[in-house]
């Protein structure tokens, strides 16, 4: 409940401070300029934190794939940031937060481009939480992350322009429409569905498209030979680790900023639940990976931390630290098993584990709100709305992604030629190599 929750949160924040003599008289405007400035600043700080998650994704994804496709992955991730921000300015923001006219709706649109209202820069715009520009850029940074999630899953075999077109459509239309259901005051918000910072609206939305992508594309050459899984190791685990750490780092803005103001109690709770969720995801992923794989697998543990983060995202504001440890810890177990299942059993080829991390753990995190979450008013969240949210978002996103992928496949083609795949997309799509001067030989 993001933008929609502005009012509510603003009030809850007043409530918290009730005993603290903010002003001499209760009648005066309760949000001061100072508070407005702090709130706004915190959202802008969160914005740059979320921005750096794009580097996190770029690093993680290129680290977990082969050196011959590295330029391609970096290119995609760089493009997506740009596409995300630009399309969000053009239509996304307007689709996602169409305003109170569309309360409870499935779809709303407020017009093309950015149109700050007269009071867009003042306290009154958003209950003293942010200016219109802050509102836009904070939400805009979120948008691109959904597309980035897909990038890793379809890596090493998708045509560059086809991917860019898919991403542009998905991030410009599908992401904001689903997001509006909950955060824009749409029908899911009405149902009492709670997704604090986007286990569903960002991570699952990305995850469903990732799933559609890997189904339509098929596995990389040589991944499954005679029904046997042949691992294709990532070419740089330091890069992957840098990616994970930067993602976690950015997550403090992703979750912390989703409080939508700088309320000390709320933001600090979110920092604690986020940190504990990630830590506990690492912890259980180590244990389960050590058990299942005999030797603990770094790539799994990196996934474990992200799993914990994705899972805690839906309820970071409404569970206790202890429950955050449970949620993250269970996610750490789920993600390892999901990777083993999806890769080894279902033979769906997801080079970076995006479906396991973002889709499966996104679902888990959303449902966990129905188990442990307690609303600002003290009443627990119900599981049914959460389930409805997960399923409806899932159906919508998965179908849209499938359709877009199929249309692109039939028109432009989706997959590079076999020859290009063997030689690498860096040479095929970009005519350059990521590590000139190093000897990189890959025999598969």
């Amino acid at each position: 409940m993001k933008a929609f929750g502005f009012g509510v949160l603003g009030i809850s924040c007043l409530f918290l401070f009730a005993g603290a003599e903010v002003s001499a008289e209760e009648a005066k405007p309760v949000i001061t300029d100072e508070m407005f400035t702090i709130n706004n600043l915190w959202l802008l700080i969160s914005t740059f934190l979320i921005f750096i998650m794009h580097l996190g994704f770029a690093s993680l994804e290129s680290g977990l794939t082969r050196a011959k496709n590295t330029v391609n992955i970096l290119f995609k991730n760089t493009s997506i940031v740009a596409l995300g921000i630009l399309t969000y300015a053009l239509v996304g923001f307007s689709l996602m937060y169409p305003g109170t006219d569309f309360t409870g709706a499935f779809f709303g649109f407020h017009g093309f481009g950015l149109n700050p209202p007269a009071d867009g820069m003042g306290i009154s715009y958003n209950g003293g939480n942010s200016t219109y520009w802050t509102d836009f850029i904070f939400q805009g940074m979120f948008a691109a992350t959904a597309a980035t999630i897909v990038s890793g899953a379809v890596a090493e075999r998708i045509k560059l322009h086809s991917f860019l077109i898919f991403s542009a459509i998905y991030v410009a239309l599908v992401y904001p429409i689903v997001g509006m259901w909950g955060w824009g005051g749409g029908w899911l918000a009405e149902k009492g569905f709670h997704d604090f910072a986007g286990s569903t609206f960002v991570h699952s939305v990305g995850g469903w498209a990732a799933l559609a992508g890997i189904i339509v594309l098929g596995p990389r050459l040589g991944k499954y030979v005679n029904g046997k899984n042949k691992p294709i190791p990532g070419h740089s685990l330091p890069l992957a680790a840098i990616g994970m750490f930067l993602l976690w780092f950015g997550w403090y803005g992703f979750n912390g900023g989703s409080v939508l103001n700088a309320d000390p109690a709320m933001v600090s709770l979110v920092f604690v639940t986020t940190s504990l969720g990630a830590a506990s995801g690492i912890f259980t992923a180590i244990l389960i990976s050590w058990l299942c794989q005999k030797k603990p697998d770094l790539s799994m543990v990196l996934n474990g931390s992200l799993a914990g983060l994705v899972a805690i995202t839906a309820g970071a504001d409404c569970v206790t630290p202890l429950e955050a440890i449970y949620i993250g810890g269970i996610a750490g177990v789920i993600v390892v098993l999901a990777v083993l299942l999806i890769d080894n059993k279902l033979h769906l080829d997801d080079p970076v584990g995006a479906t396991s991390v973002h889709l499966i753990c996104g679902i888990w995190g959303t449902l966990a709100v129905g188990i442990w979450g307690v609303g600002a008013d003290g009443s627990p969240f119900a599981i049914m709305p959460q389930l409805i949210g997960v399923i409806s978002a899932g159906i919508f996103c998965f179908c849209c992604a499938l359709v877009i992928f199929f249309v692109i496949k039939l028109t432009l083609g989706l997959r590079v030629s076999e020859e290009e795949e063997i030689r690498g997309l860096d040479i095929g799509e970009h005519g350059m190599e990521a590590y000139a001067g190093f000897q990189i030989f890959i025999t598969q």
């Binding site: 040479i427 005519g431 350059m432 190599e433 030989f441 025999t443 598969q444």
Partner: protein, 113 residues
């Protein structure tokens, strides 16, 4: 004793190895190489400048065998590496005067395998 040197496409290493194993040749040494043959190269471009790449990545195999194994070895390599397309590679055979196993100091025919 002969020393067989073969250049193959990198992605053919696994099939060639499998063919060699079938023919009971288990010992080999592998290095990376780049080569130019009939296969044309390709062009890269970097910051607007053109780079002609005509040394293509290849795998170099070195296999020392006793005379009777020369034919099976060559055949195995061809079986594993041939696609019929330019760039499939080459096999060279030279004579080996002597061979030592470092661990035991053995020499000659018995040392090779």
């Amino acid at each position: 004793m002969k020393l067989i040197i073969a250049y193959i496409q990198p992605e053919k290493l696994t099939p060639v190895k499998q063919e060699l194993y079938k023919n009971e040749i288990y010992k080999m040494s592998v290095t990376n190489a780049v080569g130019c043959g009939q296969q044309k190269g390709y062009h890269e471009s970097y910051r607007g400048g053109d780079i002609e790449v005509n040394l293509l990545k290849k795998i170099r195999l070195e296999i020392a065998v006793n005379e009777e194994f020369v034919k099976p070895t060559v055949e195995a390599i061809i079986a594993g590496a041939r696609t019929g397309k330019i760039g499939d590679g080459k096999i060279f055979v030279t004579s080996l005067d002597e061979c030592y196993r470092i661990r035991t100091g053995e020499t000659g025919k018995s040392a090779i395998g």
